[in-house]
């Protein structure tokens, strides 16, 4: 039978793939995609615990708030990426080093 552990393993795999995207990709939009993967894995955990352990809907409510924050994050993150593209003509994160001493 499909239990709690199955969902936790799927979520752990999503989380580590997101970490991999955040660490290894050069493109800023791609890093944002990795952040979305991480948020999705956290959401999956919340919903799984809400079903298997808590037997109430509080975890799902938290997941809704996470989705709201993810939407806000995507909007602001892409705005930052666009203005970065306008200033340094690139979305390569290695080129965003004007603050480096």
């Amino acid at each position: 039978m499909i239990g709690l552990g199955h969902f936790l393993i799927v979520s752990a795999a999503l989380f580590s793939l997101g970490i991999m995207a955040v660490f290894a990709r050069k493109n800023a939009v791609n890093v944002l995609m990795g952040v979305e993967l991480i948020l999705n894995s956290a959401n999956l955990n919340l919903v799984a615990f809400s079903r298997f352990s808590a037997h109430n809907l509080n975890g799902q409510i938290f997941a809704i708030f996470v989705i709201v924050v993810a939407a806000a994050e995507a909007a602001v993150g892409l705005a930052i990426v666009l203005s970065m593209y306008r200033i340094i003509k690139s979305v390569n994160l290695d080129r965003a080093d004007t603050l480096k001493g």
Partner: protein, 168 residues
């Protein structure tokens, strides 16, 4: 018995779809391909939500992630590349250190999650959750609900302000 096997097949289908397309997001060279693989990841997670009996959340995932965030990310891809160079490459750097960290994180999480003795019991009922979630949002969670709406407003106004062309 047959029913149980069917349920397992559907679960593994969604799980494999989610993880495989997430791997494409991480490892693919072409950015457009990454964005469309992310679409399938979101579909897979929505399917897992439906599997967990979270019907409202599955629909929300489809509407907000697929309809909103993914389109926003595609806009980001399109606006930050010249449209005539069709090879939207995204290189990786520090590939092997990042891979090592990711595998270590996965190993740690998997060990901890599988070893811990969660208080886990299957709930048999699969009621529709929409009405109950609405009631919770309007009663117990009314303050976080309002704060979240203010946060969204601030974030969207801020995003519009950041990308505005300054005419001096």
């Amino acid at each position: 018995m047959d029913n149980r096997v069917f349920v397992q097949i559907i679960f593994y289908l969604f799980a494999v779809m989610t993880i495989a397309s997430a791997a494409v997001v991480v490892f693919a060279k072409n950015l457009i391909r990454c964005a469309f693989a992310l679409l399938f990841t979101f579909f897979g997670v929505a399917g897992l939500y439906a599997f967990l009996g979270a019907d409202f959340l599955a629909a929300t995932q489809m509407v907000i992630y697929v309809g909103g965030i993914l389109v926003l990310l595609l806009f980001g891809v399109m606006l930050t590349h010249k449209l005539y160079d069709l090879n939207l490459k995204s290189e990786t750097y520090q590939f092997f250190p990042a891979l090592a960290v990711a595998i270590a994180v996965f190993g740690l999480l998997a060990t901890v999650l599988l070893r811990a003795r969660w208080h886990s019991s299957m709930q048999t009922s699969l009621d529709p959750t929409t009405a109950a979630i609405g009631e919770l949002l309007m009663k117990d969670y009314i303050l976080p609900f309002e704060v979240a709406s203010i946060l969204l407003l601030i974030a969207l106004v801020g995003a519009a302000t950041i990308v505005r062309r300054r005419s001096e």
